[in-house]
Symmetry: none
C-alpha cells in the first residue's frame, strides 16, 4: 500500500486520543416485508446523533464484491492492506480459541475425519462429532503425543470436528503440502515438503498423523484421522507502535478479536462480557492509552443466525449502552463495522458498511441517520476500510504534511 | 499508475483547449460560530454558475487523510501519481525562490545554524536570523566560494535562516548523507557517501562546509554553519508534450508554481501580480497554447494565516475577476484547488477539495453551489486529484478508445 512509503516521514506523536468502535457485522439488507434494513428499523438516537455531528460514509472492507472474514475485516480497519497482509487460517483458528501463537511456531487447523482401512476419506468432518467427544479425543492425543523429533505439539478443541494445533521448535516451516484430499472418496494424502526448508516439518507431521491414526484406530468414534490444513506462521506485520507511534489497546469479549489486536501490538485489557462492561473498561483505562479499539460482537451473531428482530434489538441495546461516549473526550471517533452481516443472508457479506467519523477537525455533512442508505450520502463517500485509520490519524493531527 | 500503460496508445492531438484553474488551498472547514465554510459563506455567483452547468465532485489530493505540500498537490493535478513522482525538497526550495535547476545539477536546502567550538549544534535555526542578515552572509559565501574541485556552487537566500544551494558539474550524485544531526545538543555530522557514486559529491560538500564554517567563524552572527539537507536532482518526469501531446502554459504569480510547471514542460508566461493580470494574460495568449494552467495563490495565504474573513473576501474577489472566462471558448475547464487550507486549522489539510468540470461533453449534475458539501453530491464523486487530468483530456476529445 502506498501509505507505507510516506508514513515514516509524516507520522507524529501527540497526546490526542482516538476511539475506533467496531460493531461487528454492522451493515444489513432490507427485511422483504418492510423494505427496511436492521439499522433503518432500529431506534438508535445516539448513533443518529453521531451521524448528525460527524462525517459519514460507507466503507468497502476489501474490494467491491468481496466478503471478508474477521481477519481481513479488522486488518483493513487497522490501516493495513487486507490482501497484502493476510493472517494464516491456522493462526486465526488458534486466535479464535484464545491460543496464542508466537514467532517461529506453526499454527495448523485440524479436522477430525473418518477413513477406512485403505485410508480412503469417508467423511471429511467425521459426522460432525459433538464438541464433548472432540474434547475427549484431543485429551487422549495431548497425553500421548507431546513431542516429536524435539518439536513440541499442542492441540486444542475448537468445536465439533475442528481443532487447532501448534508446533514449537527449531527449523519449522510452512513449506509443506496439506494431507486433506479435498473430497470424500479419495485417499488421505502424505504431507510433502514444498522445498528443502519444509523437509523436517513434513517428517514431523507425517509421524504425528501416523501416531494419531493408531491412537484413534480402536476408539468408538467416527474420528479416525486428522486433516491438517492452513499451516501458518506469525504474520510479518508492523505494530501500531512502529507504524503509527500509538499506544494502543483492545477492549473485546471474544478471543478472535483479542488475538488479532495482539498481532498489531495492542494491549488487550481485561474486561467483562457485557457491552456495559466494555464501556466501563473504556472509562477506566482512558488515561493509559491513546488508541482504543472497542469491539462489540453480538450484531454479527444475530445476523449470522438470520435473526432480523434480534439484530434490531441488539443495535438498540448498543445504542443505549454507548451513550457515555458522548461525554468522553476523543480527538477522533470512528463508529463502523468490519463488514456487513445481513440477517436475510445469514452470513457475512460484501456490502459496504456505514461509518461515521466524529472530530472537531472533520466536516460534518447533512446525514441525519446512521444507516446504510443515509451514510451513502455522506461527505466521506465510499472509501476503503484500509483508508479509515489515516483519516482518524489526520483528524487527531498525528500526520504532518507530505512533501513541501 | 495505470494510465501510463495505455496513454501512448490512446492519446491524440487536436485543437481543442483545456483550462485548469487552480485556486490554491481552496477547500475549508466551518467557522464554529456559523457552521459554514469559507466557500459556503462567500457570495460567489460565477463559481456557482460553473457548478450549475458542470459536473461537480471532490478531489482527494494524495490519499485519504494525507495533507499534501504544494509539490504533491500540483503533481497530482497534472495527472501524475504524487507518491511515485516526488519532487525533492531541495528542488522545491529552489523553485520557491525562482532558482531554476537543470538536469545533472544537485539542489540542496540549507539552514544556517549555531554551533560551538566543538561543533555541537546549539540552534538548528541560528535564532531565525533576519532575512537581511541571511542575505549579507549569503553574499559573503557567494563571493568567496564559487567553485570546489571544478563544481560550481550557487547559493541564494530563501528567508530567515533558510537558503538554497545548487551544485553544477560532472559526476554529481545525491547518494550522500545529510550533515544535520536532527536535534540540538548533537554534533554536526560529516557528509558521507551512501555509495561509490556519492563519493565525489561528499568530498565537495565537506570542503564547502569547512570553508563556510571558517568564513562565518568571526562574523557577528548566530549563523555559524550550514545544515545541508534535501539533496535532490531534477526529477525524472515526462513532460506534457511527451505524455499528453499538449502545448501547455502556466500563468502564475509565485515562483514555486512557475517552477513546478516548468518541470512538466509548461511554458511560463510573463504576467502581472494581480488576479486581473492573470485573466488578461489568459485572454492575450489564448491562441498560442492548448493547455492553460492558471494558478491563484491568495486563498491559501489567508487560510494559512487563519484569516477566515480574508479568505471569504478573496474568494469573492476571485469570483468577480474570473467572470470573463464564461465568455471564452474552452472544450474543458476544471476549477479546483491543490488541497484544502481551512482557516480554522491555519494550515494545509487532508480534506477533499471541491472540483467542477465544465464541458459540452460532460454530464451536469444537480449541484447548484460551488462548496465542499454541495460538490460532495456531484456526479464525479470523490476521486483522486491525479485522475482529473484524464477527465479533462477526455472531455476535450483527446483520448481515443482503449482496446477494440
Amino acid at each position: 500500500m502506498n501509505y507505507e512509503r510516506i508514513l515514516p516521514e509524516i507520522i507524529q506523536k501527540n497526546d490526542k486520543k482516538i476511539l475506533l468502535l467496531v460493531i461487528d457485522g454492522l451493515g444489513g439488507l432490507p427485511d422483504p416485508k418492510t423494505g427496511k434494513t436492521e439499522l433503518e428499523t432500529a431506534n438508535i438516537p445516539n448513533l443518529d446523533y453521531f451521524a448528525k455531528i460527524g462525517s459519514c460514509g460507507l466503507l468497502t472492507p476489501v474490494l467491491p464484491g468481496i466478503t471478508p472474514g474477521s481477519g481481513p475485516g479488522h486488518i483493513a480497519l487497522f490501516g493495513y492492506d487486507p490482501i497484502e497482509i493476510q493472517i494464516g487460517r491456522g493462526i486465526l483458528e488458534c486466535l479464535g480459541i484464545g491460543l496464542e501463537v508466537k514467532k517461529g511456531e506453526i499454527a495448523i487447523r485440524g479436522n477430525f475425519a473418518t477413513i477406512d482401512e485403505n485410508r480412503i476419506v469417508l467423511d471429511r468432518r467425521a459426522g460432525r462429532i459433538p464438541t464433548e467427544e472432540n474434547e475427549k479425543i484431543v485429551n487422549l492425543i495431548s497425553e500421548n503425543i507431546k513431542e516429536i523429533k524435539g518439536v513440541k505439539i499442542k492441540i486444542k478443541t475448537v468445536k465439533e470436528h475442528r481443532c487447532a494445533i501448534i508446533l514449537s521448535g527449531e527449523n519449522l516451516s510452512c513449506d509443506v503440502t496439506e494431507n486433506d484430499p479435498g473430497k470424500e472418496g479419495l485417499t488421505l494424502k502424505n504431507i510433502d515438503p514444498l522445498s528443502e526448508k519444509g523437509k523436517f516439518t513434513a517428517e514431523v507431521l507425517n509421524e504425528f498423523e501416523e501416531r494419531v491414526i493408531s491412537l484413534l484406530k480402536n476408539l468408538n468414534s467416527k474420528a479416525k484421522c486428522l486433516l491438517l490444513r492452513g499451516f501458518s506462521t506469525y504474520p510479518d506485520i508492523q505494530t501500531f507502535q512502529e507504524r503509527y507511534k500509538l499506544k494502543p489497546c483492545c477492549i473485546a469479549t471474544y478471543p478472535m478479536y483479542k488475538g488479532i489486536s495482539k498481532l498489531v501490538g495492542m494491549e488487550v485489557v481485561e474486561c467483562g462480557e457485557k457491552i456495559e462492561d466494555e464501556i466501563e473498561t473504556l472509562k477506566n483505562i482512558y488515561n493509559d492509552y491513546d488508541f482504543f479499539f472497542l469491539h462489540i460482537k453480538k450484531t454479527d451473531s444475530f445476523g449470522e443466525d438470520g435473526n432480523f428482530e434480534g439484530k434490531v434489538k441488539i443495535l438498540e441495546e448498543i445504542d443505549r449502552k454507548i451513550e457515555p461516549i458522548k461525554n468522553m473526550k476523543f480527538e477522533a471517533i470512528a463508529i463502523t463495522g468490519d463488514h456487513s452481516t445481513p440477517s436475510v443472508l445469514k452470513s457475512h457479506s460484501w456490502h459496504p458498511v456505514p461509518v461515521v467519523v466524529v472530530s472537531p477537525n472533520t466536516l460534518p455533512d447533512k446525514v441525519e441517520r446512521f444507516t446504510e442508505r443515509d451514510c451513502s450520502k455522506g461527505i466521506l463517500g465510499n472509501i476503503y476500510s484500509k483508508n479509515l485509520m489515516y483519516i482518524l490519524l489526520a483528524c487527531s493531527l498525528k500526520l504532518g504534511k507530505f512533501g513541501a
